[in-house]
């Protein structure tokens, strides 16, 4: 296709509108995100197509593989449009019946529909399901609606019209003004105002500038950026194009980790299509502006998410941070001015340009505007990807959207911001999603990892998990992070092994504070956060480990002895059956007994006991 102009873009939008408004065919929107693919959505797609062809309805029904639907816990997920009928947990066996009922008989197949766990009522439509009803999908606006590999469908959803406006109607100053008004802050964690970053880079006089998208999402439990890239890759490209136009950059990089094969594939497809359409390359939309970009695959080092290490990695060096200043906006990639934003930040940009900064700033709190995407995981019913307005309370996310804690267990804390973040205990559940508020509570907004923990989580163990992660991922450049984190880990291990002394707590605090104050980059400076926040909110738990040699959550196996409570034991034998090491002696009609010599503390007896008889 020859280079496009605005008219071409408009006609593509008109020609494809029916596909995103579902005005012609019935569309089976099957989730093809990484989560649903892992539960078999690709096979289901094949089965659906086969079944539809067998029944001869292929001309009136389209099967569309979409990006991540978000409700990952219930995958594979299928939404039938235009009726918005939601099916979940599909299996291959369900497909013939589903096609027959839904498409031929036109009656929903109730057994595969969502049932409200409280009222036990069937909620047929996706928008009525609480998981979706409380969300505000802006960045995820195209989820379940477009095929992420189709640029036409993206255009049909007003895609690239923001870029067109930025290139044809707006000056860089205009764009900066809208960005300023929007109040958009970096979604990678630190929350630096985007318009400032762009402004600094635009003021630099250099013939070569770069725009870099940080897609090196590395926090354990975080998958926001992956899902955005998989579901709406063009929105990131468009955001980069607008950023490039603002600062006058000619080339861009998307630094994405190799462990995201599907995201890489979809982004590459998106880049190829955009190039074909002349939306990347020279003279974009007849504006005379030139911009192209490429993917750079990172090898999965956590520290490469730190901006200076990321750039060093693109340059071909070992991913090690360097001191700032100079900031990337002044001297970034190959010492050239560089705008570096993360995936979610960039995906917000087209919306701001299209709808205006004021409109965008209409949602959120005083200093945190727009929406935030979270990867909700851990001990929560509805694990998945959620997008909520800034200011939403943690409680609402965990209970209204997440459906609360499974079983009868109690909420204990929520971990925000990954290894750099901290834990927020139950008292703070009213905390709004807001950069400053979360930070005051001792955590950070972070990139959006939200791990919910119930009473079975040991906070010492949790702090240890993150410390272990950080000390393994420390690049080794600066002394406090390289050796200090290892020392914290040693102390935590000591405490978990029952060898802790009370002075260890002071030492932990001291070490943490010094590492925070003296490390070179963000990784080291925030590394002690998980320890500091658990020490702050759960001091008793640490003391229990040290003084009473007890782990209240029964996680630290060295401190736990498994014993059968004969009063509660019903002699059912489940513990005996499940014990992998033969440590449970059991005879019919007698309470079971655990041999501590043989017990490997795997906790299977505890998990399987239906009568809470294992202490």
């Amino acid at each position: 296709m020859p280079a496009m102009n605005l008219q071409d873009l408009q006609s593509i939008r008109e020609a494809n509108r029916h596909r995103v408004e579902f005005t012609r065919n019935t569309c089976l929107m099957l989730c093809g995100g990484t989560g649903c693919r892992s539960t078999g959505s690709l096979e289901i797609k094949e089965a659906l197509q086969k079944e539809i062809t067998t029944r001869g309805i292929q001309d009136s029904v389209d099967v569309v593989e979409t990006g991540c639907n978000g409700f990952c816990a219930r995958g594979p997920i299928l939404v039938v449009q235009p009726h918005d009928i939601f099916y979940h947990n599909l299996t291959l066996q369900d497909i013939p019946e589903l096609v027959q009922e839904q498409l031929v008989n036109n009656t929903p197949l109730q057994r595969l529909q969502y049932k409200d766990p409280v009222s036990k009522q069937i909620l047929p439509r996706q928008q009525d399901i609480p998981f979706f009803a409380h969300q505000l999908p802006w960045v995820l606006r195209n989820r379940g609606i477009i095929d992420p590999e189709s640029i036409d469908q993206y255009i049909a959803r007003d895609g690239y019209f923001a870029a067109a406006r930025a290139l044809l109607e707006m000056t860089p100053g205009d764009i900066l003004q809208q960005m300023h008004k929007s109040g958009l802050r970096g979604r990678g964690g630190a929350g630096f105002p985007v318009h400032l970053k762009w402004k600094y880079a635009s003021e630099e006089k250099s013939p070569v500038k770069y725009v870099v998208c940080n897609a090196d999402e590395g926090d354990p439990g975080a998958f926001m950026d992956r899902s955005i890239l998989e579901a709406n890759p063009h929105s990131v490209l468009e955001g980069m194009l607008i950023a490039a136009r603002t600062v006058n950059a000619g080339h861009g990089f998307i630094y994405c980790r190799t462990e995201y094969p599907l995201a890489l594939e979809r982004v590459q497809t998106a880049i190829d299509r955009a190039r074909e359409y002349g939306l990347l390359g020279s003279d974009i939309l007849g504006s005379g502006f030139q911009f192209d970009l490429e993917i750079y695959q990172g090898a999965g080092a956590f520290v490469c998410g730190e901006e200076t290490a990321l750039m060093r990695s693109i340059e071909g060096g070992r991913g090690m941070p360097r001191p700032r200043p100079p900031f990337p906006a002044q001297k970034g990639l190959w010492d050239r001015p560089t705008v570096l934003n993360n995936v979610e930040t960039l995906a917000n940009v087209p919306l701001i340009i299209l709808e205006g900064g004021d409109w965008y700033a209409g949602v959120g709190t005083e200093h945190s505007k727009g929406t935030k995407v979270f990867a909700l995981s851990g001990d929560v019913r509805n694990i998945g990807l959620v997008e909520v307005p800034m200011g939403t309370s943690l409680c609402s996310i965990i209970y209204d959207i997440g459906g609360g804690i499974p079983g009868k267990r109690k909420f204990k804390a929520v971990q925000l911001g990954g290894p750099s973040g901290g834990c927020v205990p139950a008292e703070y559940l009213d905390l709004p999603v807001d950069y400053e508020a979360i930070s005051r509570a001792g955590a950070i907004m972070g990139s959006g990892g939200m791990i919910v923990m119930d009473q079975r989580t040991c906070m010492v163990d949790m702090a240890r998990f993150f410390m272990d992660f950080v000390q393994e991922e420390s690049c080794g450049k600066c002394t406090p992070c390289r050796e200090g984190t290892m020392r914290i880990l040693e102390i935590l291990d000591r405490i978990r092994a029952g060898d802790g002394v009370i002075q260890d707590l002071w030492e932990l605090e001291d070490l943490s504070a010094t590492i925070r104050d003296s490390s070179l980059c963000g990784l080291g400076q925030t590394a002690p956060n998980p320890v500091l926040s658990t020490l702050k909110y759960f001091p008793k738990e640490y003391e229990d480990h040290i003084r009473n040699k007890k782990c209240p959550a029964k996680k630290c196996t060295a401190l736990v002895k498994f014993r059968v409570n004969a009063d509660k034991c019903t002699s059912c034998g489940l513990c005996h059956k499940n014990c992998p090491s033969g440590a449970v002696h059991w005879k019919k009609k007698q309470p079971a007994e655990i041999d501590p010599q043989k017990c490997i503390k795997c906790m299977l007896c505890l998990d399987n006991c239906m009568f809470d008889a294992i202490d």
């Binding site: 070992r318 000390q471 690049c475 040693e490």
Partner: protein, 682 residues
Amino acid sequence: MGKQVKLRIDGQEVQAPAGMNLIDAAELAGIHIPNLCYLRGMKGIGACRMCLVEVEGLKAPIIACNTKVKQDMAVHTRTERVQEIRRFVVDLILSMHPLDCVTCTKSGVCNLQEYAYEFGLKESSFSRKKFTYPVDEGNPFVKRDPAYCILCGRCVRVCKEQGTNVLDFMGRGIESKVITANDMPLHESGCTFCGSCIDVCPVSALREADREKKGREWEFSRHESVCMLCGCGCDITVSTKGDLIQKINAGSRSPSTEQHFICTYGRFGYEHVDGGKRILSPMVRKGGQLQEVSMKDALEDLAGRLKKAGKNTGFISTASILNEDAMTLQRFSGEVVKTSNIDSTASLYARPEQLEKSQKAKLDKADLIILVGVNPSQWTRVLPALDVAVRRRLSRKGRLITINSQETALDKLAEINLNGDEIQAVQGMIKSVPDHGIKVDQKLLKHVQEASTDKNMQQAAEMFAGSSNPLIISDPAFFDVASNLAWIKGQAMAMPLESNARGVVLMGVKSKDNTFQDMAAVEHGLVQRGRSTVKLLYAVGDVPLSKKPDGVDFLVVQSSSFTGLAREADMVLPAATYLESSGSMVDYLGQLKTVEQAIEPRGESKTHRDIFVQLAKNMGATLKKPTFSEVKKAAGTEVILSVADMSRKEAFQETPESYLQALNAPVLETSRLLWLKESGMT
């Protein structure tokens, strides 16, 4: 001097040049900001976190190595907060570092020890952690002991910046480690054993392979001198104990790391002073055999012969003798022996004017370097320090054009390579310069009228026109043509192969009548053919010839080692090496540098000048040794360039490698450098 900035450091007012970092600025005021990873002249990397200081108005401490001075800044280097951090860092490092200061050779100059002392840390408050990495001692030069490594990264950065690029980090976090590619031992890694890493290591992780038991650092006397083994003439610091050289490091006279480099030869070749080929006493050929005689007898005998030979005497010298020796030689030959037959090996590859006209230049100020016909390389060991200096300049600020008919080691770093004939390339460049907005005198343009230019030459001309301080470094053979570029802009230097070629010529050791070639009967380098034009040939220094030239009746060789020529001599006089003499030399950049005697001359050997003075005495004349001011005057001749001829002058057919090897044969064969040859690593 650039703009000055006033600031306060620990309450003391300090004036420092704008752009200087806080560590250097504090040092101006005599305040030491602790650091373990900083290297002067290189960008601060902020790895060790020792140099954190507090600045009034800033919340958090900042690193001094990467912070530039600002007007009215108030810096505090010893606040409780930063001292606490420093103590913490040292404590952490100590927990993984052997506490064997009692036997450690680095004791006394170890930075870690110094800071541990400052904080009174006898041992770490953390539990001891140790990795058992193997010690790399597969070569006789550099010993790498990872147990001592504190991961400051200095060695990695130095090795990278100088382009040797052998060391890097591997692993993450606590398991980080400095390694070579694939973690091979150094001798299988492409390492050249220059030992730059030894010079920068703050602890004992990298040291000379034989450093142990050679003495404690405080027992050593240090001598700031110059290596005379090749045209680079690098600064060296010689450490001696007793009358033995214990080690040589890169000199500390230049404060920046940019020229802080010595090569393997300079660092490890010193053993030749006590090597098996050393001449320790005078010898005279009797009955076909060289036999030891007393210095007195030898010099009396020689005085008589010189008197008799008079004008038929010829003096040939190497171009690596010191200025004082050269000037004494020149006076001795002219005033005492009264012969005009005097010349040095420099005339093998350069005419005197080429070296005399070579300009003074500052390499670290150049923004464009043009190499004409020179191919310095660390790996072929030809002018390695120039190779390093160019690479370092490029990594900081600067661009490179190489002009060479052959591929050169630096081609890959150059933005433009002009392959093909050097003279045509320079002519083409000059012809294109006016197209880029620079006026060129018609006198010069006339010379290049016929030249053809191509796209590459035009680009080179454009880069040259756009540079503000170009430096042209050429092989002496191309100096005339290359100097025409400097006539337009910048400076031009001839790069000789021998350390004091410029000095020797400036001191007057240059042909007035018979040339070196005539006297030594050599053609195109060192090929000996035909008859000598003199009857008594007096060779000064380790002249790299292998046989007594035909036609010479009496051959005197005054050198420190048994060279090929010495074996054929009729009289051999023991000369002191540069490590045993004081004086001065002129390096390739035109700087007059002093050479400090490190050890006593071995055996009966004497400096060249002392021998000449004694000979003069024996001949009934008085010969004055030159004073430093006389040398300085001779060395400081102002150079004014003029349009020079455009053709190649010399026919020197030795390769730089083979010539330098011949010149340094005694050093290479009687020191641990022999290992290089034996393991096929030259």
